[in-house]
Amino acid sequence: MWVYEKKLLYPVEVGTCNPTLAKYLMEQYGGADGELAAALRYMNQRYTVPSKVIGVLNDIATEEFSHLEMLATMIYKLTKDATPEQLVEAGLGAHFVNHGHDLFYENANGVPFTATYIQAKGDPIADLYEDIAAEEKARATYQWLIDVSDDPLINDSLRFLRERENIHSLRFRESVELLKDERDRKKIF
């Protein structure tokens, strides 16, 4: 089970009302390589991986939910008091018509989240290699978000999130190494 903590992982601050930036950030909220996809991918894989690597999947999945909450905070603040006209101008007119000021799990183009973004192959190496790839893709997405954002406060949070992808990628790489140690040497000539 989970218990909610009434705090953010990192102190998120937002400089200006900027719905265009909110639209871009949705890529990491409900996109293919976003935080929701990451959390669900790892949370689902943890049940059947070798015991040695359960902790990594469990704990990174949990952390990804705190990243999702950071993204939500940024999107919420960037659009909170935006007028319908401002949202239309930002390319969020269709979003507003469907969802009002609510957030939604969709990517920067408004494509709704789908479970087809994640995989589960029942093969620990195949799964961990997907996880490593997912972390590197999320890192790249944060880089391009930093490149298009001119809000230094948002960029401060995005830099933190990008660095977390480095560490998660490292832990998944280590997990592969841990499984290599399990090799049954007796069968190898």
Binding site: V3, Y4, E5, K6, K7, L8, L9, Y10, P11, V12, G55, V56, D59, I60, E63, E69, A72, T73, Y76, K77, I167, H168, R171, E174, S175, L178
Partner: protein, 88 residues
Amino acid sequence: MSAFEEEREMMLRVQQADFVVVELTLYTDTHPDDAEALGQWREAIKEAAHVRRQYENRYGPLSLASVPTEQALEIGWRWNSTPWPWQR
């Protein structure tokens, strides 16, 4: 320092202490035999609990793993009180 800034400062201390625990937990997941890291991890959890207690004594529980004080309830603190983390 305004009351708003004071709260933010104490929250930042909690976030810093908790983050060390997050990092060391992931590290010890893949390094279960690093005795020095395990020691640091235990100390980091103690420190995070200490900093959290200081925050909660003043501003109320951050989770329901902490007992709300009677004074907190008397002065109107509720779990459902605003602001929530995304509203701050």
